[in-house]
């Protein structure tokens, strides 16, 4: 299929003076996709979004919207609309006037009947029918969010840009809006590009996740690919919870690499890139891939320090001599009595091939980051 991508970056870089915000960005977003740009703050995701919107011009490379090179096209001539962070609703206009703002800019002019009708439909779509006369400051955060959505969507953009749209909402509302946004995207069928630093949000809502770090795209893929097959140490650590164990390459067994951990235990791990004998690596072990059992039944032995019981699952912080604290997550099956108590010795096992070994990349301070999630919960 040779459909023209809705959004395409070709070799895009953006520099502010000596500071490079993003570089080497190549990205093609297929039509009708829900794409998340995910990364920590300062990774360049917002810069990319703003280059699509036309608020920043690339220093290098080109941005295409539906095959059109956008170089020199100001924001008001681009077929995209943005839901701004904190919404940027016009405080001097009521809800209806905010929503119809874009329609009133259209040339040739639309009839006031059409403007009123379309604004009404947009408000209905975000379940705010009847709120047209309200002042912006009279609305709750969730309602403002939906006005911002209606204000953008009423113009029937080719692409909807969302800049951290849910960041200002409380947790319950955020979950509701995630579902609502997903439904909206399917209903309207246009491409949504979402910028977020919240990996859970990115994984749960989008069809594709584009993970960014240090101004570059580090991985692009479907949410499960990103989670299961992280491209590098950064993605493994940033997306989802994981345990990162420091070790050295001790040998190779077929496709797998044998890693000697700090305490001398050797585990077999998959690898993404070729690894040298003796090279320092980090091994990623997802908490849910660990199985806990009676002492002497697994390769690693430890003592339960904390238990966080979550109902369907339980999370354990397990101290392993010579390695550190590992986070493990186990399903709680009613009546199976498989809960461990703090102080109890356990053996930690995992299926062959679930650990993933990554070369230590320079300056990312991975050693300090090992088991940071455990530190947070314990």
């Amino acid at each position: 299929m040779t459909a023209v991508p809705d959004i395409e970056f070709r070799g895009v870089a953006k520099r502010y003076g000596a500071v490079t915000a993003v570089s080497g960005i190549d990205l093609a977003v297929p039509p009708s996709a829900f794409v998340a740009l995910l990364g920590p703050s300062g990774c360049g995701k917002t810069t990319c979004l703003r280059m699509i919107g036309g608020f920043e011009q690339p220093s290098e490379g080109q941005v295409f919207i539906r095959g059109q090179d956008m170089a020199g096209t100001p924001p008001y001539r681009r077929p995209v609309n943005m839901v701004f962070q904190q919404y940027a609703l016009f405080p001097h206009l009521d809800v209806e006037a905010n929503v119809s703002y874009g329609l009133r800019q259209a040339r040739p002019r639309l009839s006031s009947r059409e403007i009123g009708q379309r604004a009404g439909e947009a408000l209905e779509m975000v379940r705010l029918a009847g709120y047209g006369g309200r002042k912006i400051h009279e609305l709750s955060g969730g309602q403002q969010q939906r006005v911002a959505l209606a204000r953008a969507l009423v113009n029937k953009p080719a692409v909807l840009l969302l800049d951290e749209p849910l960041a200002a909402l409380d947790k319950k509302l955020r979950t509701d809006m995630q579902i609502e946004l997903q439904n909206l995207q399917r209903e309207i069928g246009i491409t949504f590009v979402l910028v977020t630093h919240d990996q859970e949000e990115a994984l749960s809502m989008s069809d594709f996740v584009c993970v960014m770090n240090g101004g570059r795209i580090v991985q692009l893929g479907q949410p499960n690919e990103i989670y299961d097959e992280p491209a590098d140490l950064f993605v493994a650590d940033f997306v989802g919870k994981t345990n990162l164990l420091a070790g050295k390459v001790a040998g190779h067994t077929g496709e797998l690499v044998d890693v000697a951990l700090a305490d001398g235990t050797i585990i077999a791990a998959r690898k993404r890139t070729a690894l040298q004998q003796g090279e320092t690596v980090s091994v990623s072990l997802r908490p849910e891939s660990l199985s806990l059992g009676a002492p002497a039944s697994g390769p690693l032995k430890g003592v339960v320090r904390n238990r966080i019981f979550l109902g369907s699952t339980a999370e354990y912080a397990i101290e392993v001599q010579g390695i550190g604290t590992l986070l493990a997550k186990a399903d709680h099956l009613i009546g199976q009595g498989n809960l461990f108590k703090p102080g109890e010795p356990v053996a930690i096992g995992f299926a062959t091939g679930t650990p993933l070994a990554f070369p230590e990349t320079k300056n990312n301070g991975t050693n300090q980051r090992v088991n940071k999630h455990v530190e947070i919960i314990s």
């Binding site: 919107g53 036309g54 608020f55 100001p74 924001p75 008001y76 001539r77 995209v80 609309n81 943005m82 701004f84 962070q85 904190q86 940027a88 609703l89 016009f90 405080p91 001097h92 703002y101 874009g102 800019q105 259209a106 002042k135 204000r151 953008a152 113009n155």
Partner: protein, 296 residues
């Protein structure tokens, strides 16, 4: 019981709090009462009195002074033209300056440029107006123009000179409130407007201008009210040929010593000022949904 103790100590706190507030407000209150409220009452009383035979005030109760206001209709008319026109001229010059300072000027220059706007205030308006007399007078710009062959240009003692003096003198008062309201403007609103298809011009008219209206109205009413009492600039730069209420007041209080009539005019002037303020407030409330920028 512990709740009871809590209530008592809260009362104590509140008392102390109120006392402190009163103490802090006292100097300003005394000042305002002695120099504003009492004189205002005196003026109000004078305005319904009569002129004493040898000048000054003589107790009476009559509205004759107010009935006599049309005698100064010309001064009123001139003032009512000068004040809004002067304020408008000021606004037209001030807005681009404030816009540049708030939205365009590089961050590190902003404070310096703002200081440059305010610094002329350190010299008295009288001095600066005298300076303009010389600049516009026969040996100033006209002499320079004559030097390059443009003869017989008269600048001083023209309405243009008065307007120039007014704009020059009151510009900072107009720039500052507009600057404040533009500076507070959320830049993302401008981006949102552009994102929704508005050209720079319609973004300016539909968002920037409307949201800076509180500042505009503050500056406008501030300058206009001060202009209602202005007589110095027209006298020095306009040749004193056109009479304003300010001139009338000086004349009535200091020359012909008709205090009651002067008071009636002053009271009328205050009422006009109040009306200006109310109208300005209404406008910015309606358009921007916000109150004036309170600088004073």
């Amino acid at each position: 019981m512990s709740a009871g103790t809590g209530t008592v100590s809260m009362h104590g706190n509140r008392f102390r709090h109120n006392f402190l507030t009163a103490l802090l407000l006292a100097p300003a209150t005394v000042w305002l009462v002695v120099f504003l409220v009492l004189p205002f009452i005196a003026i109000a009383v004078f305005s319904v009195g009569e002129r004493a035979p040898e000048g000054g005030y003589q107790a009476a109760f009559t509205l004759a002074q107010y009935a006599n206001l049309p005698a100064r209709a010309t001064a009123f008319w001139n003032t009512m033209v000068l004040a809004p026109v002067g304020a408008l001229a000021c606004l037209l010059v001030a807005y681009p300056v404030a816009y540049y300072l708030a939205l365009q000027a590089p961050q590190r220059w902003r404070l310096i440029l703002l200081a440059l706007v305010v610094i002329p205030f350190w010299t008295s308006l009288l001095m600066r107006t005298y300076a303009w007399m010389y600049i516009l007078g026969g040996r100033g710009i006209p002499a320079l123009l004559a030097f390059v062959g443009i003869e017989d240009v008269r600048l001083i003692n023209t309405p243009g000179a008065v307007l120039l003096g007014i704009v020059y003198g009151y510009l900072p008062l107009m720039i500052l409130p507009i600057y404040v309201s533009l500076e507070r403007l959320d830049r993302r609103l401008l981006e949102a407007s552009a994102d929704l298809g508005a050209t720079p011009l319609s973004t300016f008219l539909g968002v920037t201008l409307k949201l800076s209206l509180p500042g505009v109205m503050t500056g406008f009413s501030l300058v206009m009210i001060l202009l209602l009492g202005e007589y110095l600039i027209p006298t020095l730069l306009g040749g004193g040929k056109v009479f304003f209420i300010g001139n009338a007041l000086v004349d009535l209080f200091l020359q012909s010593r008709n205090w009651p009539f002067g008071s009636a005019i002053a009271i009328t002037l205050v009422l006009v000022s109040v009306v200006v303020l109310i109208v300005a407030n209404r406008i910015s409330n309606r358009v921007a949904g916000a109150r004036r920028v309170d600088l004073i």
